[in-house]
Symmetry: C2
Subunit: 452 residues, 2 copies
């Protein structure tokens, strides 16, 4: 979603998806110049929370311990009776696949046991207003847990772990440790004696970087979800293109995009829809989408829905009238060339920084050819970083449970919001392979989205 | 949004709107059995923040002091780089009309002076990503402030007030008092001496109930906003009715409703769209909206957009096939009768509790006529509260900056989420005029939404 989006082709580069042909078929959508994937999901397939937990545990390097992740809580807006828009905590979702509030998931590393704790079913007036909430049995049938308990059983569960099992309890942040009252209690042992709770060390620093690393490598199930989200977004882009000649305002573009996604059960966008006409297209994260189309040449539509918490990210720029001017066509073709050559470079083992540099090399050469950069040799112009003025943002980012998905390390070029891209450019130029975190690996999902 | 919505007619009863015929025209929308209002807003009209501030000050009963209201801050989701969906604090909006984050509005009661503080304009990379933010001059031209300053001027402003002016600083909640570092500083007086800041008493209990009381009586500008929101929602309901025969799933209903609002620049819903088919219609706040329409008789659509932070609330139930069964028609007509008779009772000075009781009287009589309640006289059946089993929720609520807008007192019947409606019913029955807060007054805006 960062690119200005003078781009074409399928923007999402998936590395060696581990999927068989049975899972989906690729269909070339000629009028959109994109690949649409027809998914044939098995309805019985469950979210692979356990597989993900095992991947995290392996990277934690400990054979004992408990991973403890609370879900997002439901709450109302301040001074209001309206519920806050619910967005699940992604780390909780990665181990559970559950999009409900007020739950906890735990993974016992030694026992290889994944347990979900859900709130007690609602009753009385709450049922009249909100319907009935799922029971442990319903959750167990639908998901891949070894056990499903009520949250009321959590204190005893933690007490038991603290007394009887070895290892630390891994949490993302100190504030996610349950309140002392939940875990500081005496228990009656099997011999009838009372015992005070042994508080195991809470480990608060290792879990997040470990989960971030695990999350960069997508499981086959995750790849399907991301493809499904992108498929719906592609349909939504197509519907906008079909209607664009009749639209009067950017708001109608947003409306058609959102409606296409909602009608296909993708109720949430992965990020705010960006539908910028004319000069609005040059604000990368423009979200007002409320200005007339008349008298404006191009529209940049950067929008992608979520599918079961997995993000898509598709950006396209097109002429509102249906035809490019020669100038716009020239820039469009140059960005398309940047994108296509960069996508072709995406292979396991390649450092993403060198791909980013290549995009700038294509940009510099193209801008020289168009006469927009001159007074120097290619080498001089390229090394000056002049192309950064035209392409001032990242080339792409990880895509997954976040549209800018978590990466393995904080300095990854896949992070999009660097303070100064010119500084970035020069640091990459000095050492394109400087950081190991930018090396592509099988089953990473990244975007390639140059822009101008 | 609480009613099950077997209702017809314009659901929003506006008491004596103080608007001239120039402001809008009413058009009967025959196919929807509703009144659509064509608004002709004057584009130059400014949000009446000062008028609202004066109304609050008058009710505070103090001739001195400063009202201090911070806006909602912008922030990202936890462990994510995605910005949290922005919903302005309603109390801040009521005195400012400004839908931007990280601002503060103050009203000096003695000086009758309304000041907005905005963050310094963004610069550098932020402009590339987010565009330029408004300057004080742009804000001043667009809104009704005596002064617009940068938030960097706030410490001096508060220091000056504390030193030079009289009265308390009124805040909604203790946590909205600015941090001590902002206000605990020494200043240089005109005679050159240093002086430590005099901290005025922060008043944290009076502002909220006073503003709640002020907000129950809508200004002419507010009435226009609410009418505009309802007009767009009516169009969205119409578009659903036009398409319903072609839809396969509740999700398409949600899509068409949302798209109609977004295309008309009403980007936000006042509450989650409720589109429940068949038995889903009996969950009052059903929001999944993801089940097939096939084989289901009725659809309940309870949905209303926001317009400039003002809510609408429209509920309709209709047959998916286009024709009611005789049974559904009978219940529909009964609820329509409840609604129409209750709307006719809405006059200044009438206690809302007596209107609620009347709805139950109509319900009891109607259900007896249909043979659904029997084995008793009307009086016995009515007094037993048996109709509460069919109509288990409030008759309506205030509508304004919240869909369930704030009221004057916590026990108002206009509040919708009472724990037990049967208990409520019996308490009203004993004393229909028991609470003064339920008395209707000119320019209140309420919903009348019986359901079954």
């Amino acid at each position: 979603m960062v690119a200005m989006g003078l781009s074409k082709g399928n923007q999402t580069g998936v590395q060696q998806p581990a999927m068989s042909e049975e899972d989906f078929s690729c269909v070339d959508v000629a009028e959109f110049d994109a690949i649409s994937i027809n998914l044939k999901p098995k309805p019985s397939e469950k979210y692979p929370g356990k597989l993900h937990a095992q991947s995290v545990a392996k990277r934690l390097g400990s054979k004992q311990g408990l991973i403890y992740l609370p879900s997002k809580k439901s709450c109302n807006y301040e001074d209001s009776d309206q519920e806050v828009f619910f967005r699940q905590r992604r780390y909780f979702y990665y181990l559970s696949g559950v999009d409900l509030p007020n739950c906890v998931v735990t993974y016992n590393i030694e026992k290889d046991s994944l347990t979900l704790f859900i709130p007690p079913p609602n009753s009385g007036t709450s049922v009249i207003f909100n319907g009935s909430s799922p029971t442990p049995e319903e959750i167990k049938a639908k998901y891949d847990f070894d056990a499903v308990e009520l949250t009321t059983a959590l204190p005893d569960f933690l007490t038991h772990f603290a007394h009887r099992e070895k290892g630390m309890i891994y949490v993302l942040h100190p504030y996610q440790i349950p309140p002392k009252s939940t875990i500081m209690q005496s228990i009656t042992l099997e011999d009838g004696c009372q015992s005070n709770l042994y508080i195991p060390p809470w480990e608060t620093s290792k879990l997040q970087p470990t989960m971030d690393a695990a999350r960069t490598i997508k499981s086959p199930y995750e790849l399907k979800m991301i493809r499904k989200a992108n498929e719906i977004s592609a349909q939504a882009h197509l519907n906008v293109l079909r209607g664009i000649k009749h639209f009067k305002n950017e708001a109608e573009v947003e409306a058609v995009f959102a409606a296409t996604c909602i009608a296909r059960q993708a109720k949430r966008q992965a990020y705010g829809i960006i539908a910028g006409a004319g000069e609005n297209a040059s604000t990368l994260h423009y979200v007002a989408n409320n200005e007339p189309l008349e008298g404006r040449q191009l529209l940049c539509l950067d929008a992608g829905c979520e599918w079961d918490c997995y993000a898509s990210d598709v950006t396209r720029t097109f002429p509102i009238s249906g035809a490019f001017t020669p100038e716009a066509q020239a820039i469009y073709d140059l960005v398309a060339q940047m994108q296509e050559e960069c996508i072709a470079m995406c292979k396991p083992g390649v450092n993403f920084r060198s791909i980013h540099l290549h995009a700038h090399a294509v940009a510099a050469a193209g801008l020289m050819k168009l006469g927009l950069l001159h007074n120097g040799t290619f080498d001089e112009i390229f090394k000056s970083g002049a192309s950064v003025a035209f392409f001032p943002h990242g080339l792409g980012h990880f895509l997954g449970l976040e549209v800018h998905d978590v990466g393995d390390g904080t300095n990854s070029l896949l992070s999009t919001h660097a303070k100064s891209w010119l500084t970035n450019f020069h640091s990459i130029l000095q050492d394109p392979s400087s950081s190991s975190v930018s090396v592509l690996a099988p089953n990473m999902v990244i975007t390639i989205e140059p822009g101008m």
